[in-house]
Symmetry: C2
Subunit: 116 residues, 2 copies
């Protein structure tokens, strides 16, 4: 999960409300596909399986076979990677950028008040 094409898959997978709801369910605990389908009674099972495949291809869901059952696990590592890209180690720099903006805007506001 490193090339830009892989990252495209993550964002395309998550740009869908049902797939985000599937991630919400799997974050609570791993589920078999049947258990997951029963969380979405308004959606037919085939559609749930289709959404799961999209999430799997993006590396967001990992299927794990346990005995005769196959559990779907959420793998949040791709989301962690995005956080690190735009927030993580650079949070301080971003915060200081916003602080700088605030200071500048306050300076402009003072000038505006003085001009009144």
């Amino acid at each position: 999960m490193s090339t830009e094409d892989d990252i495209d898959l993550v964002f395309k997978a998550l740009a869908n409300q049902v797939r985000r709801s599937i991630c919400d369910e799997l974050r609570k605990r791993p589920l078999t596909t049947g258990q997951l389908a029963s969380c979405f009674p308004e959606i037919d099972r085939t559609t749930v399986i289709m959404h799961l495949r999209v999430l799997e291809k993006a590396g967001l869901v990992v299927p794990v076979r346990k005995g005769r059952e196959r559990f779907n696990y959420l793998d949040a590592m791709p989301i962690q990677a995005l956080h690190e890209r735009w927030i993580g180690p650079h949070a301080e720099r971003a915060a200081s950028g916003l602080l700088q903006l605030k200071t500048e805007l306050e300076g402009e506001a003072e000038v505006a008040v003085e001009e009144q």
Copy 2:
């Protein structure tokens, strides 16, 4: 930035390599649209502006007018919100889920070795 429709916009905006590169540039420092366009000499200015509008609609880029210039700032709050949804306060639970899986798989591996 709270409804699921708003979140759709964030993911659709970020499901494009050029728009992610724009976020990378703006994370370093705010830029005018002209400065930003010069970071992407291989893309025409109209296309850069089109990408900026998509990022703005998603709340990822905020334009700030300073005197005669208009600077584009990265606003990473929508990305922070995603992180909190799937990782943040639940990181411990997710980590313990993975640990549980690891323990179970190791248990199965031991059974497999004993059966040989």
